[in-house]
């Protein structure tokens, strides 16, 4: 039983390292879209790993921890996608390093409507 707890603790530590790196990326990246990239991926992965480690430590808590993992894994990408799309329509600028922007080209060619309300 002791070995399971140690495995769980190591997994939790890895998760918290991922969370820390995500927050570091949030500070270092140059524009909103890159921040969302690192923020979403690392925070989802970090939280899921933290909860997975706790499942190893307390096998009796598996129900609620599993619900939390599922919920974070589904809701976090959706909310950041909605945020990114609406920020783009609102006109948050891209960074200078950006090489190509197909969405702006298509909006200019009238292939895509500039605002849509399909949430």
């Amino acid at each position: 039983m002791e070995i399971l707890k140690i495995i769980g603790a190591v997994i939790t530590l890895m998760g918290s390292i991922a969370l820390f790196l995500g927050a570091l990326g949030l500070v270092r990246m140059p524009d909103l879209y890159n921040r969302i990239q690192t923020g979403t991926k690392a925070s989802t992965f970090g939280t899921v790993l933290t909860l997975l480690g706790l499942i190893f430590i307390f096998p009796g808590w598996v129900g609620k921890l599993f619900i939390l993992m599922l919920f974070v894994g589904i809701s976090n990408p959706v909310s950041s996608h909605v945020l990114a799309r609406n920020a783009y329509r609102y006109g948050v600028p891209l960074s200078d390093k950006t090489t190509v922007d197909r969405l702006a080209e298509d909006i200019e060619n009238k292939e895509v409507e500039p605002v849509n309300n399909a949430l």
């Binding site: 879209y33 991926k41 589904i74 950041s80 990114a84 950006t98 090489t99 197909r102």
Partner: protein, 164 residues
């Protein structure tokens, strides 16, 4: 068609109820059965969220494989993020590319968009009919076809079997 929707919603709700309670006594199971049968009847009378899902053994097998592929990509994505964040020069080359998907069902498109968001260096910015606009942190190919091959196809081949 509608029975299928209500049935799948019922299974999901009942599973959540059991996980949330964590105990298996008779009153809890009976309450859960009643509540999770009534809620889909009210809220899922006309919905078609699960209508395209196939319930064949092959679809179940592919769901399982898909979960493994997805977990592997998730780990790869985080190693990638780690490398980019730690290195002092910040090696990014971002851009928005356009990719095309063959999937028709709404649920399959949503799962595809979510998976793309959680995999290495890509992020779904907008969905417009059969085109997806992807923010790519390290653009390797600006062409629509090549980007589709690079980003979408590794998930699409499984989702096609599950949702058709």
């Amino acid at each position: 068609m509608n029975v299928k929707n209500i049935g799948i919603s019922f299974v999901i709700l009942f599973g959540f109820w059991l996980l949330l309670n964590g105990t298996f006594t008779t009153p809890i199971i009976v309450t859960g059965l009643i509540v999770s049968l009534i809620i889909p009847m009210f809220f899922c009378a006309r919905c078609d969220v699960f209508a395209d899902m196939r319930l064949t053994p092959k679809a179940f097998l592919y769901t399982f494989i898909y979960l493994f592929v997805f977990a592997f990509e998730l780990v790869k994505a985080n190693l990638d993020v780690t490398r980019r964040v730690i290195s002092p020069k910040l090696p990014i080359n971002p851009g928005i590319v356009k990719v095309k998907t063959k999937l028709k069902s709404k649920m399959a498109r949503m799962i595809l968009a979510n998976s793309i968001t959680l995999t290495p260096g890509t992020f779904t910015l907008a969905i417009e009919k059969k085109y997806l606009y992807i923010h790519w942190i390290d653009v390797q190919d600006k062409d629509v076809e090549a980007a589709t091959k690079e980003i979408v196809q590794k998930f699409e081949k499984y989702l096609e079997v599950i949702y058709g």
